[in-house]
């Protein structure tokens, strides 16, 4: 596949992620912050997000598994996850966290467990999508092309 084709494919792929609500404008913001002095900025930040998120999801799982659930603690973890997912533009994960916090407030264990399941799914979904996106970018660069920057109007 030649570079132009790959670039178009990347654009279409990225667009679809926005259309499906998997990513939001904050992700574009990250891309705009990337430049020659920091060519891997987006990958670095997203990697930080993956690390953060997986640790938090583990912490939340463990906390909900306790005999007596420490809801303030769970809420604090969810708050953090909400913050970092918002910062990278992982919209569905962020929204899941917003819903989760309501269950925490109600001290609802079942609701929380269901929400956690949902968030985990959304997280792995966005992780797969972003990793695919980065692979596409790498292919373009390896073929001697440059990664197109996007501006989308919504």
């Amino acid at each position: 596949m030649e570079v132009g084709q790959m670039q178009r494919r990347l654009i279409e792929y990225t667009k679809s992620l926005f259309m499906e609500g998997i990513l939001d404008d904050q992700f574009l913001q990250l891309q705009q912050l990337q430049d020659e002095s920091n060519p891997d900025f987006v990958v670095e930040v997203v990697s930080l997000f993956f690390q953060d998120a997986e640790k938090l999801l583990n912490d939340i799982t463990r906390a909900l598994d306790q005999q007596s659930v420490d809801f303030p603690k769970v809420d604090a973890h969810v708050h953090q996850l909400k913050g970092s997912s918002a910062s990278v533009g992982a919209q569905r994960v962020k929204n899941g966290c917003i819903a989760f916090r309501n269950f925490c407030e109600e001290q609802n264990v079942d609701g929380s467990l269901r929400c956690l399941q949902q968030i985990k799914q959304e997280y792995y979904h966005v992780k797969n999508k972003l990793e695919a996106l980065f692979r596409l970018e790498q292919q373009i660069v390896a073929a001697g092309g440059s990664v197109p920057m996007m501006e989308l109007s919504f």
Binding site: Q7, I11, K15, D25, Q26, Q29, L30, Q31, Q32, L33, Q34, D35, E36, N38, F41, E44, V45, L48, F49, D52, Q80, K82, G83, S84, A86, S87, V88, S146, P148, M149, M150, E151, L152, S153
Partner: protein
């Protein structure tokens, strides 16, 4: 969500007299379709106003700190990033440092942004840096409290380049 405000003014009997709705819209450039550009995007704001501006950023979250720092550098600022209120105060007390802006996350563990701001105000009488708070909250009492303490501005998280530039411009 739209960073707006709605309030109802009532008359003496408690009946609603008038209602006001304020919404804040951001004007965005509209593009017909996806645009290809090579390399880095041209900055939407001129950096000259913020060039060399010495900023200290305090945020305990690694990810947010990384992103916000990059954002400020993109605007031309010199950024020192710390991860706690204590580190922030130490940096400010050091004689050779002179920061013009302090960006504080309000919700840090150990010492929150309010506490840090109070202590900054007690630190020195000359060389008062401008304090801007970072918060995910949009509640009015948060804003009020900020003003009472001497915080000059507030930026909502997650931080956008335009939002940062606007607020910096406003307080400077």
């Amino acid at each position: 969500m739209m960073q707006g405000n709605i309030w109802i003014s009532t008359n003496l009997l408690g009946f609603a007299q008038s209602m006001t709705l304020v919404l804040r819209f951001q004007t965005r450039p509209s593009f017909g379709r996806a645009i290809f550009a090579h390399g880095s995007s041209s900055e939407p704001n001129s950096n000259s106003q913020f060039k060399g501006l010495k900023v200290i950023l305090a945020d305990d979250d690694d990810l947010n700190r990384t992103v916000t720092k990059k954002l400020l550098e993109k605007l031309g600022c010199h950024v020192t990033a710390v991860s706690s209120g204590f580190e922030c105060l130490s940096a400010l007390s050091a004689a050779e440092n002179s920061f013009q802006i302090v960006l504080l996350d309000l919700h840090m563990p150990e010492m929150d942004g309010f506490e840090v701001a109070l202590r900054i105000r007690k630190l020195r009488s000359q060389n008062w840096p401008l304090i801007i708070a970072l918060t995910a909250s949009a509640e009015e009492h948060v804003l009020e409290r900020c003003l009472q303490i001497g915080i000059s501005g507030v930026i909502r998280k997650p931080v956008l380049l335009q939002g940062m530039a606007d607020e910096l411009r406003r307080v400077l």
